[in-house]
């Protein structure tokens, strides 16, 4: 029922966009705005993300495989950056301003975590899992302007904190 009601509205919107872009083009003005993605939408995936995006997040990093061994030196660098730029909001074992990160890699893929660090604005706008957390925590995770290398180092540090990394007593 809802689908049916929405479709004509979408069609109108599209027409509106077309008129607008035609008008602008006729003036020799600005580039027309990109049209909305055509992919089908569902309540779980309102942005129409691809499966890869759903799994690995949206941003500069796509699916990645990690070395089996944790690089301790890299993890130490990551810890320093984490303490400076993240610890004000995240603890490992308990909820603080943001969710605990001690088990984040059991919930999310490494690339997802990288994209959350490097591209939080878009993640919070488009990714259903990130949006769900935002609804829960009410504070948007800020962009801390990390370099790719810094984010990678933090990821290594987070690996040392996961339940699998420290064998259960």
């Amino acid at each position: 029922m809802t689908e049916v009601a929405i479709m004509p509205t979408r069609a109108l919107l599209l027409a509106l966009l077309l008129i607008a872009s035609a008008g602008l083009a006729a003036c020799g003005g600005a580039e027309p705005e990109a049209a909305a993605p055509a992919a089908a939408t569902s309540p779980d995936n309102p942005g129409g993300l691809t499966d890869a995006q759903l799994e690995h997040g949206i941003g500069p990093v796509s699916a990645m495989t990690l070395e089996a061994e944790i690089d301790a030196a890299l993890a130490a660098q990551g810890e320093a950056v984490f303490n400076m730029k993240c610890a004000a909001c995240h603890k490992m074992d308990q909820r603080y301003v943001g969710p605990p990160l001690g088990d984040v890699l059991t919930r999310r893929s490494p690339a997802y975590v990288m994209n959350m660090m490097l591209n939080p604005e878009e993640m919070l706008q488009k990714h259903p899992a990130a949006r769900e957390l935002l609804a829960q925590y009410m504070t948007p995770m800020p962009n801390q302007t990390l370099t790719h290398d810094e984010a990678r180092a933090i990821l290594e540090f987070l690996r040392t904190q996961q339940p699998a990394a420290t064998p259960a007593p």
Binding site: I19, G23, N83, M84, A88
Partner: protein, 659 residues
């Protein structure tokens, strides 16, 4: 369900309206019809788009500099310079208050007149903008990557630093000429010994070394009033021209007594010659006291008092200074883009005299001197004049240039701007302005390469131009289109304080160089915290240091106990954000100074001296997030001598301070 069709119809109408608007826009843009008189279209900068120019307006007696966009006239920023500014804690915070130190102590106010952009090869380069403080003679350098005042130098042996800070074509020097002559060095003498004891100074300040601004040398000149200046360029590079009035050397009722002589002087100073004389040992050093303040690498203002200055007497350095006789109490002196013409605004004169640099050099070589004053040759007027612009309006003051062969001069008394040709020296157009225009500004209009598209009239009197706001009115600026043959008024816009003079630069030159935040990892403030884990409170006798952090949306620590009446509490607040446009504020109840506004990655410190027992809140003043109203904390203040332990924390039990 019911409202769906309604929604659809609305959208349909919206589509039609939009189409109509767009068709209309097509008809107007690009067609010749619009060029005639649609002023609104010309100053309209659509939402989300940027202006074409940054305009820097002096804030006059507010002591600030304001930044407007042109052509819209929109106010983009106020940069505090010589004034305390509670909006961001400038001059209140521990890191910035030294900027306002002078040899007279802390002077949190001044009268800022002339913004001056740094130049390379005679063209504004967008590195810095300088501005003068008139009242307690100072010049400041503002960095145009941060839009923050970075350095302030006081000028010794000066009083009323009006003729400042005009810059040489490669930013080697900026100058500061003293409006009031005073005893040099200062001494207790009767005012009517003026002629015998009072002197003027023309100071040359090293300008191109950030953090090292200094008076390179001062030239001692007769006790006139020195008003404005401009550097030579092209062929006249190496010279600086200063106007003077009161060659009568009156010390009372100047209104009458300083308007006696037919002509006063422009002092032409060969500053390369001055460099030679100083290097050759012709100058002497003189005891003096003046302040130099600048940010160190930790972004904390350092204040030092200098104790001597280099002084050069024209009689010890032949061929250094020449006087160009100029009618009548000249105010502005402006050099055209080619560097050949030196235009004076004789505020009581009936013509605009235009001196020729080439003729000036000939006259010097052929010693065509009228007389010699205090060892300074006065050149013959007829020998140096290139032309006189007739009928320039009443009270001509200042001239700027469009780079297309025209000059534009303000006429204060007749409230108009006259456009005249640098070839014929004839007035070709005039336009009324509202009211009593002082300076005018064309972007780059005093440089070798003006952007000759707009002109801004900076008016002293506003009267009926805007909705009235009681007795005090914002000063009026008017934007005038000078791209065609006829000047056309486009826009009125109000300004802050007295926008005495302004400069503007194409936005492209600086907009991509903006600092968006400070790197937390590079923060060198000794009280910075690099992460919430480093936050703490320490006591040292009566001093308590709170090492605090902010991030959306909490302070750490946000509960503090163990402060006592009589303590001096330093809140050192570090903003841990690393994103653009996320400052946090800090304010505590009863603070006698101001709040703080802390940029991402920066540390700023506020001192608080609690005088009452109680529990006092602090909070973030800059609306930072949805939970901004939650961004708060408490400080408990106990009586002097109480044994409540010093303790602090966020979100859990308090940690007792280790010391």
């Amino acid at each position: 369900m019911l409202n769906r069709p309604v929604f659809r119809i609305t959208l349909g109408i919206a589509a039609l309206v939009l189409a109509a608007v767009l068709v209309n826009a097509c008809r107007t843009t690009g067609s010749a019809g619009l060029a005639d008189g649609d002023a609104a279209q010309r100053v309209y900068v659509p939402p989300g788009q940027h202006d074409e120019f940054y305009a820097f307006m002096s804030g006059g007696f507010s002591g600030n500099l304001t930044v407007h966009g042109l052509p819209s006239g929109r106010l983009l920023k106020t940069v505090p310079v010589f004034s305390q500014f509670p909006e961001n804690g400038w001059g209140y915070s521990e890191e910035t208050k030294n900027m306002l130190m002078t040899s007279h102590g802390f002077v949190p106010w001044d009268d800022a007149h002339h913004p001056e952009l740094s130049m390379t090869d005679g063209v504004p380069d967008g590195r810095w903008i300088f501005i003068n403080g008139n009242n307690t003679p100072r010049v400041a350098r503002i960095d145009l990557t941060t839009f923050e005042t970075d350095e302030i130098l006081e000028i010794p042996n000066s009083a009323g630093n009006h003729g400042s800070p005009f810059i040489t074509p490669n930013s080697e020097y900026l100058v500061a000429s003293t409006r009031f002559s005073v005893p040099v060095p200062q001494q207790d003498v009767s005012i009517d010994s003026y002629k015998q004891n009072f002197k003027g100074t023309l100071s040359f300040i090293r300008a191109d070394r950030p953090g090292e601004m200094d008076v390179a040398f001062q030239i001692l000149v007769p006790g006139y009033n020195y008003d404005l200046a401009h550097a030579g360029k092209g062929p006249s590079d190496g010279w600086m021209f200063f106007t003077s009035y009161n060659s009568e050397e009156a010390n009372t009722l100047l209104e009458i007594n300083a308007s006696q002589n037919d002509k006063d002087f422009i002092a032409a100073v060969n500053w390369r010659r001055a460099e030679e004389c100083v290097a050759g040992g012709a100058a002497r050093t003189m005891p003096a006291r003046y302040a130099h303040n600048h940010f160190d690498e930790a972004h904390i203002a350092r204040h030092e008092l200098k104790t001597e200055v280099t002084v050069l007497e024209p009689s010890d350095c032949p061929n250094l200074v020449y006087f160009l006789p100029t009618p009548k109490s000249p105010h502005g002196v402006d050099v055209d883009p080619t560097g050949e013409y030196i235009v004076a605004g004789g505020k009581l004169a009936t013509v605009i005299p235009v001196h020729s640099f080439r003729k000036m050099i000939d006259a010097i070589e052929n010693e065509r001197f009228e007389t010699v004053v205090d060892g300074i040759p006065v050149l013959q007027y007829e020998a140096i004049i290139a032309g006189e612009v007739e009928n320039p309006g009443l009270g001509p003051l200042h001239t700027e240039f469009d780079g297309n062969g025209y000059a534009y001069t303000t006429a204060f008394i007749s409230s108009e701007i006259v456009k005249w040709s640098l070839e014929t020296f004839e007035v070709v157009d005039r336009i009324p302005v509202y009211y009593s225009v002082g300076h005018l500004m064309i972007p780059g209009g005093d440089s070798r390469r003006p952007w000759g598209k707009y002109l801004v009239a900076l008016n002293k009197i506003t009267k009926d131009r805007y909705l009235p706001t009681g007795p005090e009115l914002a000063h009026a600026a008017q934007l005038i289109d000078i791209s065609g043959d006829k000047m056309r008024l486009l826009l009125d816009f109000p300004t802050m304080g007295e926008p005495h003079y302004a400069q503007a630069i194409a936005a492209d030159v600086i907009k991509d160089r903006q600092v968006k935040m400070y790197q937390l990892s590079e923060n060198k403030n000794p009280y910075a915290v690099k992460g919430e884990g480093e936050t703490r409170v320490e006591r040292n006798g009566n001093e308590v240091h709170v090492y605090m952090s902010t991030i959306r949306s909490h302070f750490a620590p946000d509960n503090i106990e163990g402060i006592k009446v009589g303590d001096t509490v330093y809140f050192h607040v570090t903003n841990l954000e690393q994103d653009w446009d996320v400052p946090h504020g800090f304010a505590v109840l009863g603070a006698n100074n101001a709040e703080l506004l802390i940029m991402p990655g920066q540390t700023r410190t506020l001192v608080w001296k609690p005088e009452r027992v109680g529990v006092f809140p602090f909070y973030c003043t800059d609306f930072c997030s949805a939970l901004h109203q939650e961004m708060q904390g408490y400080v408990r203040v106990s009586p002097a001598g109480s044994d409540v332990p010093l303790a602090y924390g966020t979100g859990g039990t308090l940690t007792t301070a280790s010391r």
